[in-house]
């Protein structure tokens, strides 16, 4: 599933590396690999996805094999292995949310954005996908938007339209 799209030759900024340095101090001597997930989150927040090139650089930083990074990045659903829209709308599609209309919300988003799940709008601004229970079932239906994972609760078709409008104006 690794993306074939070439990522430009990347160099982590010194600011980013400083954050990596801070993370690895949280673990005992020799256990710096524990920093892998937090570091991948920082990389994704910076570039919007984790490219093979970025993963190789992370491996070099942590002094581990590149495969140790790939197997982790492919296991967890939060890491994007190809470029996404600037805003990724992640709608909860699990049982409790479906009891109060999550499926209708997803259909509505598909129609509003005009792209299927996982695709990016032609202007590069949006993509969307269904995700599993976000631990907010009492405020259902819900969606989240990274990289800060802001939550939007008790969604209606109207509030989703408003949200998309607001995001369009934000760029």
């Amino acid at each position: 599933m690794l993306s074939v799209t070439e990522h430009k030759d990347i160099n982590f900024s010194s600011d980013l590396v400083k954050q990596f340095d801070d993370i690895v101090t949280r673990y005992p001597e020799g256990k710096q690999k524990a920093g892998l997930l937090p570091i991948l989150h920082l990389v994704q927040a910076e570039y919007g996805w984790v490219s093979p090139e970025a993963m190789d650089k992370v491996a070099a930083y942590l002094n581990i094999q590149p495969i140790e990074v790939y197997e982790v990045a492919t296991f967890y659903t939060m890491f994007f292995l190809r470029p996404q829209g600037k805003f990724v709308l992640e709608v909860c599609r699990t049982g409790p949310c479906c009891l109060v209309g999550a499926e209708k919300i997803m259909t509505h988003i598909e129609k509003s954005l005009g792209v299927k799940e996982g695709e990016v709008t032609s202007d590069g601004k949006f993509s969307w996908r269904g995700v599993e229970c976000l631990a907010a079932c009492g405020m259902a239906p819900v969606l989240q938007i990274g990289p800060e994972y802001t939550f939007y609760e008790k969604l209606t078709e109207q509030s989703v339209d408003q949200l998309i409008e607001d995001l369009k104006n934000k760029i």
Binding site: K33, H41, P96, V131, C137, A140
Partner: protein, 434 residues
Amino acid sequence: MARKLLLEHINVPGINTFDVYRQNGGYRSVEKALKTMSPDAIVEEVKTSGLRGRGGAGFPTGMKWSFLAKPEGKERYLVCNADESEPGTFKDRYLMTYIPHLLIEGMIVSSFALGAKTSYIYVRGEMMPQIRILERAIAEAKNAGFLGKNILGSGYDLELYVQPGGGAYICGEETALIESLEGKRGNPRIKPPFPAISGVWACPTVVNNVETIAAVVPIINDGGEEYAKIGIGRSTGTKLISASGNLNKPGVYEIDLGVPVEEFLYSDEYCGGIANGKRLKAVVAGGSSVPILPANLILKTVNNEARLMSYESLSDGGFQSGSMLGSGGLIAFDEDQCIVRNTWNFARFYHHESCGQCSPCREGTGWMEKVLHRLEYGHGKMSDIDLLVDVAKKIEGNTICPLGDAAAWPVASAIRHFRDEFEWHVTNPKEAME
């Protein structure tokens, strides 16, 4: 009105800040524990309280703590399980959002009791806002001398860190969580050895749920005996219930264990009844993993006793007519909901979340999803129903971790109690498709 031990101050403006939390009695348990109690005395107090793990398994916390190995020259770790991902469960997220210092306070006392010098709170990655909240609360506590070196002059040192997950339900399983914390895929380990013997980096480790750790605070403040007075039988204390689905007032409620299910569902103090004036059809009482029960069986046991919100009462009758308290994620279904559709949705969830290590789970969850999908969409056969029961039976008990069971139980129980609805989907394919 029930006593509130965890959520008492939740509506106080600014309670998420150190100062306001402290003004409302916060961090008293740390002072008491570090200045007047020995680690063993704290473990004893927790044993006396009867507190049971709030992550879902209900294992006695004090006993688990006393099992922690203490070999010379090895670090011990406390890891808080804040991976909350069980469909229907959202109490930990609530607690961390609104009263983060309660968790920090509990972590300090518990770490002291276990002799941990470094502790981690493993938070599911999607909870980035909660991660920020906790990091700020930790910085505030450290600034006030409740974390770091020589806490309150006691000579005890503790560093507390927040570790994000990456989006994987399985990482809530404690050994998968440990793998993930070490920077690996979340593949569960074979137990035993339990983490208490060999956990993070092969060191003795206690993994406890957010709510369990938070409950240690009132236990130390008021004593284990006081805590044990609340509740019923071996279900002591208060419990956070996440209520979702077709309810007038979904949300997080702190109950005394032992409240009748009927009161919880219908009284205005709690859920306020079924939404839109509809009738209750079914309830999943303890998160998606536990068996679903039809309305009559969730309100009363087969012996016609009122069903209570407690570990024992909810499991009364075994899986034939009972269920489990689990993580306390109560999902209510109104009369219009389709049980087959929901069962398919849950099966899809477990298939998606299987880590793939054991073939019964990896293949079985996929198979159940496929069969349920064709039933739901009107392409099923009568024999598919027994096929599902058979696949569920073959997964149950034959896997490394209980995710396999968690996938099998909802399917088996839905067919047990709602077989006619599955049959209807076979005999009415056209209507089923709509």
